[in-house]
């Protein structure tokens, strides 16, 4: 298995590492990580990027002596760098930290509020996916947060709004709140969304300040998958970027257990097996209820309350009658196709189901809140 490249790589890495030594100054700087006000690298970024055009080349400084001579022949246009290692005490640029200090002056101490995101860094999601941040303990005042947090779509201000809710009883018990962000309509397809959260040290209400551990989230949107399920015809029309790509028969919830109407967002594909933690094969989820306990294949979760689109080989009346317990039953072939087609965050709009509209707190029911109400902020009022 070991070939030339692997050997060369080993040598190159070992060589490069050899020349790295943590000297006393470096150790001192690293020890300064203990101090709360230690200059963090991001505080110095404006200084570094401030037009000096300095780019450190990979291993450039480490092999500098050899490189200058050998590279001259044109092997690699290294860099415009002169990047000798800068001193252990780079001057912090006050530009970023100054306003933060001012804003936090009245609230620099308090219980830290931790922030995490449901969307992972760099993930690609469907156009209906709200940004969902979970904050604990729950802030009681969102003013500083909404003022500081910036959301851009492809580099331009997004123009959406934050809406605060506690979707589950557990959230209330654990003093967790969710901040959801969406635009007036779905995200544009194929975009990059960036959320910058310079909120460390800002007030989250009386006696609470935001932790500064979560400062930045970037994710992408895929094709615009916006499908429509009509309970009257028991059909589903799958659309991608405004073009119909497939139509198939479904069966929704019977009258006693109607499927919610309104806009739903795919929350999850399949589920992990609790025993192993690995995803079950074939997109299976375990669905249970009175008289049944089965592993259903190609299941896409739509609501926290348990609605799915899934393969229902037991249902012989697809496209004819709605007979399910609320799930959207689809043939195995169609369900497999749709599962593979779909991504988390894709939108399915349900009409004529006989059910009420999906509430905002059940899964990503966000789109069922009218925009004017959304903009008001939910549990924590938006000001301005």
């Amino acid at each position: 298995m070991t070939d030339n490249i692997e050997r060369q790589l080993r040598e190159a890495l070992a060589d490069a590492a050899q020349s790295v030594q943590a000297d006393a100054a470096t150790v001192q700087r690293l020890l300064s990580a203990r101090a709360a006000d230690a200059p963090r690298s991001r505080d110095r970024l404006p200084n570094r990027r401030g037009g000096t055009g300095r780019h450190a080349g990979w291993l450039g400084p480490l092999l500098a002596a050899a490189a200058v001579v050998l590279v001259a022949g044109g092997v690699v246009a290294v860099t415009r760098t002169t990047s000798g290692h800068v001193s252990a005490n780079p001057a912090p640029a006050p530009t970023l930290s100054a306003p933060r200090t001012t804003a936090a002056a009245s609230a620099s101490t308090g219980t830290p509020v931790r922030v995490s995101s449901v969307i992972g860094q760099g993930e690609t999601v469907g156009v209906g996916m709200p940004i969902v941040l979970r904050l604990s303990p729950a802030p009681t005042d969102s003013t500083a947060f909404t003022k500081a947090v910036q959301v851009t779509v492809n580099g331009r201000p997004a123009g959406g709004a934050w809406f605060w809710e506690q979707p589950t009883a557990d959230d209330k018990k654990s003093h967790t709140i969710e901040a959801h962000y969406r635009l007036k309509s779905y995200w544009p397809a194929g975009s990059t969304v960036r959320v910058s959260l310079p909120i460390g040290g800002l007030s989250a209400g009386s006696g609470m300040v935001y932790d500064d551990a979560f400062t930045d989230l970037t994710f992408h949107t895929g094709d615009a998958h916006v499908s429509v399920v009509d309970g009257r015809s028991d059909t589903m029309v799958v659309r991608s970027n405004d073009k119909t790509v497939k139509t198939f028969a479904v069966s929704l919830g019977k009258a006693a257990t109607p499927t919610y109407a309104g806009v739903k967002v795919i929350m999850r594909k399949g589920e992990p097996d609790p025993a192993t933690g690995a995803l079950r094969s074939n997109g299976q989820v375990r669905v249970t209820g009175p008289g049944y306990d089965v592993l259903a294949s190609w299941a896409l979760r739509l609501t926290a309350s348990g609605e799915y689109v899934l393969a229902a080989p037991w249902n012989s009346q697809l496209g004819q009658v709605s007979t399910s317990t609320g799930t959207t039953d689809v043939s195995s072939a169609d369900a497999k196709w749709f599962y593979e087609f779909s991504q988390v965050g894709d939108v399915i709009q349900y009409t004529n189901t006989g059910g009420t509209t999906l509430p905002s707190w059940d899964g990503y029911g966000d789109w069922n809140v009218p925009w004017t109400q959304w903009r008001a902020g939910g549990l924590l009022a938006n000001h301005g």
Binding site: L9, L30, S41, A56, G57, R80, I119, L279
Partner: protein, 189 residues
């Protein structure tokens, strides 16, 4: 694909830091003992001394309030190294944090001589720098730290199969870009 699915649901445990614990006395001893070792990892990841030091500093600043977790780990150094790798990968995902890539792989053959070995190392350095971050991290963990795939998988929060794929793709890119001995002979004027 699998990772996206597993991390996307709201029912998944969201990784949250533990409650803040008091400062630990052994932080200083740890840093003094392992600074060089950890700095090497950080420099190999970021490609420069300066950025490597920043990365390690930021990681330590992040870990310090929860230092008891580090000391409680089976292998504290491995724990911190894993945090360095994580921080590197997640910070680099934001486009704005990315410095402009200046690698310029030549399309014209370079003059080569007895110093082939050295140039190759340098060239390799450049080429590794141009690889996607996770591939680079995987290569570093295998070929510098000699970690088994399972442990690399833990560092990168993925499966061992994914690690093998990252490594083989990384090596394939390098192979494509580095001239073989035969090509080199042919190139020689």
């Amino acid at each position: 694909m699998t990772q996206t699915l597993e991390s996307a649901g709201r029912f998944e445990a969201v990784c949250e830091p533990s409650p803040v614990t008091g400062p630990a006395d052994d932080f200083e001893a740890f840093v003094r003992a392992h600074a060089t070792d950890l700095l090497r990892s950080a420099v190999l990841l970021t490609g420069s001394r300066e950025r490597g030091e920043d990365l390690l500093h930021d990681t330590l600043a992040h870990l310090y309030p929860r230092w008891s977790r580090v000391t409680a780990a089976d292998a504290p150094v491995a724990y911190v190294r894993r945090a360095v790798v994580n921080r590197f990968i997640s910070s680099r995902r934001s486009p704005s944090s990315r410095d402009v890539v200046v690698w310029d792989v030549p399309d014209a053959p370079a003059p080569r001589d007895l110093v082939d070995a050295v140039t190759d190392r340098h060239l390799l350095g450049q080429l590794i720098g141009a690889l996607p971050d996770r591939q680079r991290a995987a290569l570093m963990l295998r070929y510098f730290h000699d970690l088994p795939d399972e442990q690399i998988a833990e560092h990168l929060a993925c499966r061992a199969a994914t690690v093998r794929s990252l490594i083989s793709r990384g090596l394939a890119s390098l192979r494509r870009s580095v001239p073989t001995d035969a090509e080199r002979k042919a190139e020689r004027p």
